[in-house]
Symmetry: C2
Subunit: 143 residues, 2 copies
DNA sequence: TATGCTTTTGACATTCATTTTCATTTGACT
DNA sequence: AGTCAAATGAAAATGAATGTCAAAAGCATA
């Protein structure tokens, strides 16, 4: 699965005429090794610890590429940090965000997806993507 | 309805021991006269044109108050600007955002709301609020 | 209406995430 | 190897949002 993603990025890069660079390889490796919902800063620090040379801007730029390539998805929660989550082909999940402990639980609901498609169709919209976040207190924090 | 909102804010202010000020009245008036989904900057400019004295910080502070008072809801779309939409009691709507022309269409779907509640319950979550945005191209831009 | 106390305001500075700039480096093709 | 455009890193710039603080304005009371 990690290999597939690397291939996918290679294909994307080839199609776009992008060069293969050491930095992009490193960033991709480390991104693929992270948990879901890494913030750019988190990832940057992780990268820096093994590769001090890599700059802030490169991480930002490269993550945008991953998003374009369909490997990552940008998500905005309410903490002012952009996060990237791993995209698994054919799967879309949404988030339950605990405002108590900031934990994030993912869920998937086919019926909601269907309803979204219907709504979009009703308005003549061509869906590119969507996101849904439910904010509240998790089982632990509600007590 | 505008009067009700003004009353609602008065009540909130009274309960919180907040003072009634000229600025807050003006900002509320102008906020209530705007379309859905005003960004802070948009609102600030609108306010400034008739009331040049009012400062940036005051607009930010006051909008946060409106949100606390339940008159407004903060929404984050993908343009890096915080927007505030009008809250209508007992109603929740979500958004279709056109990435072509940046137009926003609202919709409401009771079934989705129900499913959200079920999902939250399944995870032991206590929902505070939620948001859902569908990104894509509107009927005009898709052509 | 004047007094005194406290909140609110506005200007400005600051912070923080992200983007831009630009000189230098590097990849890839000949 | 040589060429040239793309990519990088450091630093500066941007832009939204927040903090600071002295001055102004509410509001209660005399």
């Amino acid at each position: 699965m990690i290999l597939e993603k690397k291939k996918a990025f290679q294909n994307f890069a080839a199609a776009k005429g992008l060069r293969s660079t050491r930095q992009r390889d490193i960033i991709l490796d480390i991104f693929l090794s992270t948990h879901q919902h890494v913030s750019v800063e988190e990832l940057y620090l992780k990268i820096k610890s093994s590769n001090p040379g890599i700059g802030h801007a490169t991480v930002y730029r490269t993550l945008k590429l991953f998003a374009e390539a369909g490997l990552a998805r940008e998500i905005l929660l309410h903490d002012g940090q952009t996060r990237y989550e791993h995209v698994v082909a054919g799967e879309h999940h949404d988030h339950l965000v605990c405002t108590g402990c900031n934990s994030i639980v993912e869920f998937e609901d086919e019926t909601i997806e269907k309803l979204q498609n219907e709504i979009a169709a009703r308005h003549g919209f061509l869906i590119k993507n969507h996101k849904m976040e439910i904010y509240g207190l998790c089982a632990v924090c509600r007590n």
